[in-house]
Symmetry: C2
Subunit: 317 residues, 2 copies
């Protein structure tokens, strides 16, 4: 009989296909598990698959007395209460780096689309305004990439890939992270100093309680009227109200966002703005990235059911 895996978050069926070949999946579709399955069924669950951003605390863990492994699909595990998991001897796994290139690439896509105003440009051509020689203030020349100062907040695998790509665009790259690394980019000891220096802030920091709303009105103000912010990390890192205000009153020039505080909801006050490019959390959403993330999930689940340590275990868990 196949080992059982509870699917805790809402995932498209296509993303679960490879797991279904190997395990018996109890798919909650993202609903509370007790609404979909009986307490008896849940009692036998030893492993679950979750999206790293889905809140998963002690109360939930206690619904599954035999739970031994929480496997996150993707790099993030910010929704999982690691302390509660450790106290219950539950291993937490993820897919480190599997989606780093894909996420770095959506960061670049959002930065370029925002700074070169590609939504406005596309609409200017499609509407016939270009053919009609209508003036478009939004289409005035903007600063380009060579010499632009790009600040990368967080220098993990995604941050490094963003930095390498930006350097190829002949931009200057600076970064702030907890540690200074042996990297060819200027290190700033605080986020404030980075924001003072750069005109584009790329948020690539691992999300958690200590990064909650650190990109606030003050940081946005330091980017200035020609400044941009791009977030591909987690919505929680930006104070979304402060962001709406900064974009509305032109404190900053624009933003590129793949993540939001309350996904899949992006506030109307945000989505009404013309100087933002939005994506529906598709950073890791490429074919290669999904294959790589699924490889990590399969390796974690297979090892767990074989009684071995998770090969891609969250380090601090």
């Amino acid at each position: 009989m196949a080992d059982k895996v509870l699917i805790y978050s809402r995932f498209p069926k296509t993303m679960m296909a490879r797991f279904a070949e190997r395990f018996e999946l109890l798919d909650t579709g993202g609903k509370p598990a007790l609404e979909v399955f009986s307490a008896d069924e849940l009692g036998g669950i030893r492993a679950m698959l979750t999206a790293g951003g889905s809140p998963l605390g002690a109360d939930t863990m206690d619904l599954f007395p035999k739970l031994g492994a929480i496997v996150c699909y993707g790099t993030g595990y910010d929704g999982v209460d690691l302390t509660a998991a450790a106290a219950r001897n539950i291993a937490v796994g993820h897919s480190p780096g599997a989606n780093a290139a894909s996420v770095a690439d959506i960061a670049m896509t959002l930065m370029l689309a925002t700074t070169r105003r590609i939504l406005v440009a596309d609409q200017y051509v499609r509407s016939g305004d270009w053919a009609g020689s209508k003036q478009s203030p939004m289409m005035r020349p903007q600063a380009g990439m060579p010499g632009r100062r790009i600040g990368v907040y967080g220098m993990g695998e995604i941050g490094r890939k963003i930095a390498a790509r930006c350097a190829a665009f002949e931009s200057e790259v600076g970064y702030f992270s907890r540690s200074k690394y042996d990297l060819p980019y200027q290190y700033f000891p605080t986020l404030e100093a980075l924001a003072d220096w750069c005109s584009v802030l790329m948020i690539a920091v691992r999300a958690g309680a200590e990064t909650q709303h650190v990109v606030n009105a003050d940081i946005l103000g330091r980017l200035g009227e020609h400044g941009y912010v791009v977030n591909i990390s987690r919505g929680s890192v930006i104070d979304e109200r402060a962001l709406v205000a900064a974009l509305s009153d032109k404190t900053i020039a624009g933003a590129g966002l793949d993540v939001y505080e309350r996904e899949p909801h992006a506030p109307d006050a945000l989505t009404e703005l013309p100087n933002v490019v939005f994506a529906p959390h598709i950073g890791g959403h490429t074919l290669e990235s999904h294959v790589a993330m699924q490889n990590c999930v399969l390796a974690n689940l297979t090892a767990f059911f074989a009684g071995e340590p998770l090969p891609y275990r969250v380090k601090s868990a």
Copy 2:
């Protein structure tokens, strides 16, 4: 008295401001010169400023018996009949490389926006479809950049910058151009071979009679159903009818276009398509790029009126 310069193409006044400080500008606004100025006024013109893509043949040159210099704003000079200019002892100048980074960056922007479907993504968030969990077939995972085969057609300054940027995205880069260079990219001896190999064709070739419609139905067919074409060179390089057909019947997956056969007109059959990202010929349209191009224009005009050779002279002219 300031030297007179005829403005042959339609340019925004802001782009001419630095020239107006040094020269007396006779601005046609892009209209036939004789509609705006008397034959007598035109008879005294020794230098003109043009957009490289504007048709400028022998008949036009003969309206200006004293014409000694045609200065193109930008890198291109495909509209200028170089043979006719040489026969009349008219020097032709341009701004080589001044906009190369800016144009390469719009190529990258269009490629990323098209392959990651950023227009669809943005609309999916703005419309509330994401919040409503509506399915969107266009949002299915697509191939990303790592390992992607990018074919660069033309290896001048812009092509090289595109290639270097793509390499930083962990893509494989191949190219076709008249010459094979000592570059770390795979060389293909024909455009057909490059199209067979790559999934994204980046058109960065210098336009001219010999490149007219070389990207035709056959080349597009070789890119295949997962293939993309990005054009930042000139509209004339692509057979636009064949492109509309290939995009409509899904012979290829999508396109990113900054240039068109009859600018500023993009055909309705093209602009109705959802799998294309359009820009209104803004490749060189960044602040730094304009400053660099204007520097070349000023250097060319200053040298010409001082009786010296143009420092940025078109080589074949």
